[in-house]
Assembly symmetry: C3
Homo-oligomer: 320 residues x 3
């Protein structure tokens, strides 16, 4: 089953590294079908638990909506009011959910690769989707980025894509480098030098933003993640200075090619990564990225549950 | 569309000032129909998000229940575990909700007129109901008060209504003054002088509670909002002294006319605004107000969504 | 109606003391039927509110799932974002829920016998299930323990059951003593002497764990509840020392009889009450206890709502 983690016999989507190019194409096709009005509903009562150990609006809400569009019942787990406060481990919390009949866990956790302690456990016969681990992976974000690019250009081969900003702490940047390269895109990087790592050299070239802005098809701006920076870095950080040096200012935006699109995973720091006036500009696909997130997550959930023998009633009729 | 805000082209209910007397009557009629057993259900999956940036039990739960009675799916947004913690603005949070497919936002926010930054935005094609803004407005509370009065007396013209207490910080008091005057009621005010403002003179007369208590049809007691008082005011505040001077004591309640009703928006500070023994007395309509809140909110939601082209299956059959 | 509290005319399950042996049998039979695939659905929209004033994962989630499996709509009440923060009393919060149309309250509260202030109140025409009160009762936990034992042995009479550990603070221990004695089991106790009370003498004998471990059919390990211990006790508490003196070590587990089962209410302090390696050992019924919790709670909810004249569509077909 190509969509699933190579690490184990369980049904899980934890890393973009598990996806072949073919698998990506199939999943994006299914997401596009959902966007065009295809419907699917679980045949029996099925429960999903969203275990979010980090703050989130768009990813959390997007998964909730995707689950409910597929007819799942959603359990919202709040670490603050749970037995996690009594010292319960992540594994034991997941064990509890499985015992209670939950069939899908969607987990966001501050620890990198937290899912390693869960995969392959005999007592966790439950599907798992990684909704973000520390500074590691965020596969649903990568997939919604890919869908947004494919909707715009119809292909990936030969597209010039620049990824700009906090490459060090981003859990999207590295996944996107790998998969975009595999799909044939030409990659460039920019942003503060201290956030660039030489290991990225094999994916693309590091260049000043002013060189890239007039040349690329896709400009992916990464969020400055104040919550992940050392406090010393936060103290010296100047929003205005960052914006001038590494942000998409209005002046730089004038030099974008007509077909170029701006992307951002959100939440945006307005007037830092990009000028506030550009968030809803014709070049921006910020809104479309969020829209596509629901459809991509529906495709991920359906895939991982079907691999777990959950049956869906499907309706390919396009109504929108 | 008479029910909707005059401020913009969006579908929103943000202020009682947008309602004509006819519009109020139509909405109360629909709420009464729901109470009598009429049913309505959305025809397609429709999501509502409750964005409560202030603590609330009755308003929040009441909206959740109203939404679910109409077949909506409810997204409960918790500011504490959201990207608001990462500095996301209210506008950007709402933008996210709209992009994710949410069609109705119900918002309570500590900032007066927060909705001004949302109305008329092209990228927010979503219906909006104001569930309370700072010390501003609280239209669903006003409407449930009106329904409770109308159920009791069948009309508003000529009714003597006293509004007593924290007129300065109440978001219900001002809305109710305007709409009750427009509907023909005769208004009186009472309570601490420092909470009375001369701008209220045009709606009614300020009198000692002992003069009013034997004369009125409706006694609306306002909550002492400790969370909105300056800390100096809180330090000197004496519950017992307030109760004796401005509260409905058991002695004062003896002088109520037989037809008079007591109202309170909740939560009650027992033995402050009114004696604890009176909360469930025959004169009290506290319980009925809460009951009516669900039906009024169903009418508000149906109205604002229909204006947004959401289709309902309606059933006028009265089953209760 | 045998399942209901003797204290009042309301529909409530608050204490195991209200259950006759016959009532227990009927309720366990219904839970077993649900486990075997029987289904029941409320005929009209029915709302349950889960009011959890203490942290909980398994009990809270288990009730949510049980409610939704029966077709109820669940209101998740969070004390942190409610009017409780404005000083609202428990009674007034429940009054609000009843007025809003909630028909079932499931309450966990840190105060012993909190439900006494709710029972018999004329304005609370709502069903009530106690999901744990202070160090008092926890009837749904007792019932799931009983179901797990009955599944294993088919009967209670003559079974040797040891209850080990924090007998003083456990809200399960005392309920289980009474009901297991009534059902004919032979009881033994063990654990730290300071947590043993002479009032337990009438239910069974206090013995060293090493005497019991090779003799019993059921070994019920109680959780060390750090959150209920005095801070002085917590400071001197040694997990390793407790484990050696009163815990189920791997060495002790070797001496269990082949038919013996290990039970624990969760969350487990691994390597305190029992060795981590034993949590999923063949003797352990930890997972089955959690599974059974959902079915027992479905039976409790159905029972208490039917007594409140809520109608269910039932389907006795066994599908699993």
């Amino acid at each position: 089953m190509i969509f699933l983690s190579k690490l184990n016999q369980q049904k899980a989507i934890v890393s973009m590294a598990d996806f072949s190019a073919t698998a990506v194409t199939q999943l994006l096709d299914r997401a596009s079908a959902f966007k065009a009005g295809a419907q699917a509903q679980v045949q029996e009562p099925t429960f999903a638990a969203n275990l979010f150990f980090e703050n989130s609006t768009r990813t959390h809400t997007s998964f909730s909506i995707a689950e409910q569009r597929l007819g799942l019942k959603t359990i919202e787990f709040s670490p603050q009011s749970s037995s996690v406060q009594k010292g319960e481990t992540l594994y034991d919390t997941c064990l509890t959910m499985a015992a209670l009949g939950v069939q899908l866990l969607v987990i966001r956790h501050p620890e990198n690769a937290y899912y390693q302690q869960l995969l392959g456990q005999a007592y966790l016969p439950v599907a798992l989707i990684n909704a973000g681990d520390g500074s590691g992976e965020h596969p649903s974000q990568s997939l919604l980025d890919l869908l947004t690019i494919r909707e715009e250009f119809g292909h990936f081969a030969g597209l010039k894509v620049a990824i700009v900003g906090d490459l060090a702490h981003s859990r999207v940047a590295r996944s996107n480098m790998e998969i975009l390269q595999a799909l044939g895109a030409e990659l460039y990087f920019s942003g503060p030098a201290q956030w660039y790592q030489t290991q990225f050299d094999r994916y693309g070239e590091y260049r000043p933003l002013d060189e890239l802005v007039g040349a690329v098809d896709v400009l992916m701006l990464l969020r400055v993640q104040h919550e992940r920076l050392e406090s010393a870095e936060n103290q010296t950080f100047s929003a205005a200075a960052y914006h001038q040096a590494y942000g998409l200012t209005e002046a730089r935006a004038q030099r974008l090619q007509p077909q170029a699109i701006i992307m951002h995973p959100g939440p945006i720091n307005r007037d830092v990564e990009l000028a506030s006036s550009l968030v809803e500009s014709p070049h921006s696909r910020y809104y479309e990225q969020m829209q596509n997130g629901v459809y991509v997550r529906m495709a991920m959930i359906e895939t991982v549950l079907q691999a777990n023998d959950v049956k869906f009633k499907s309706n390919r009729r396009v109504t929108q």
